[in-house]
């Protein structure tokens, strides 16, 4: 784990447009950022696209990072999530025809999920439609609320809630098919 002081030095190097510092910062945050990118990607190529766009954006806008307003991890996470959502949006249309006020809460046994591997769970999530996938990952994994998700996706909060509800129902059906 890289110390905060070293990260600060890397940030200063990136501000000076030092390629070495940029590469060092990229490799330092590669595991963290790739973990996020994978959750929004259909496959490795998608994840690589999200990562490359995100890091170019990070280095081009590093001068806007303010350490007094938050950590570098949170700043980078926001950029990678936004790139992930942008990537999904570019591949699919986000329907605004449906709205929901209250999200359904189907019963899903956690024990089943606990026995599954991360890759198997990810495969279930990838089977969701793109918009539903994006909302589910943003809400359930990244911890964003519906207002934040709606802003990032350019949809209403009601549409975001509808997608989350659809994701939960779909996952429940898939788990029931797999495990009865």
């Amino acid at each position: 784990m890289v110390a905060e002081v070293e990260i600060q030095e890397l940030v200063e190097g990136c501000l000076a447009n030092s390629r070495k510092a940029q590469e060092a910062l990229y490799r330092c945050f590669y595991p963290f950022a790739m973990g996020i990118a994978q959750r929004y990607a259909r496959d490795e190529m998608d994840a690589a696209d999200i990562m490359s766009h995100a890091f170019v954006k990070i280095f081009k806008s590093i001068h806007t990072f303010d350490s007094s307003k938050g950590s570098l991890h949170a700043w980078i996470k926001r950029i990678v999530v936004n790139e992930g959502l942008t990537h999904i949006k570019s591949r699919s249309r986000f329907s605004e025809n449906v709205e929901l006020e209250t999200v359904e809460e189907p019963l899903i046994a956690t024990t089943v999920l606990e026995e599954m591997s991360a890759s198997e769970i990810m495969e279930l999530v990838k089977k969701l439609p793109p918009a539903t996938h994006a909302v589910f990952v943003s809400y359930a994994v990244e911890g964003y609320n519906h207002r934040e998700i709606a802003e990032r996706l350019g949809i209403s909060e009601g549409t975001s809630k509808w997608h989350l509800s659809e994701a939960r129902k779909s996952l429940q059906k898939q788990l029931q098919l797999l495990y009865g």
Binding site: S18, R19, E44, A47, A140
Partner: protein, 189 residues
Amino acid sequence: MNQRLPYEEVVSSKLQSLPLPDLADAIWARVERQLDIDLPTDDGGGNPAPPAGPSTGTVGWGLSVFIVALVSLFFLFKKDQHRVQPTTVINAQKVSSPQDTNTNRIEENTRSTKQEPSPLQRISAPSTETGDSSVNIPITSIVPDLADSAQTKPATLVVAPPVQDSGKKKRGVSGLSDGDYRIVPKKDN
């Protein structure tokens, strides 16, 4: 307020530990390429210079062609000089008044062609060092009757002592002086 269900907590913790693909180098190469376009750097630390674009290739080609042309001219001139230098005696076949419009020409013993450009032009062609297109080789022993350019064929007049240029190799046959170059007109009886 974000209220995650229990199973979503499990999903979240599981997906935080997804195995990572080994794409760090490949992705960095893409990022670096894009940064070289969007944020070019003068960082000398291991940042290789961008590859030569079409402009430097074109310049290199042009330079090569120019050098080849210069070398060709040089050899051409040298060849012409070899043809010219053996001419020590120029026999004028006919010398007449300027009013003679037909055959007031001087033939030389060498194998010079009739279609050759003016020896002045030939001799002056390689004189690029001085940048002066004028002749820098003194021409001697010109028959006075040839002063009228309308009456003569300048292509047949070749009088050229060796060029003694500071930076150039000595030309011509050694042992010959200016007096050796003379025109001996033939007299018709």
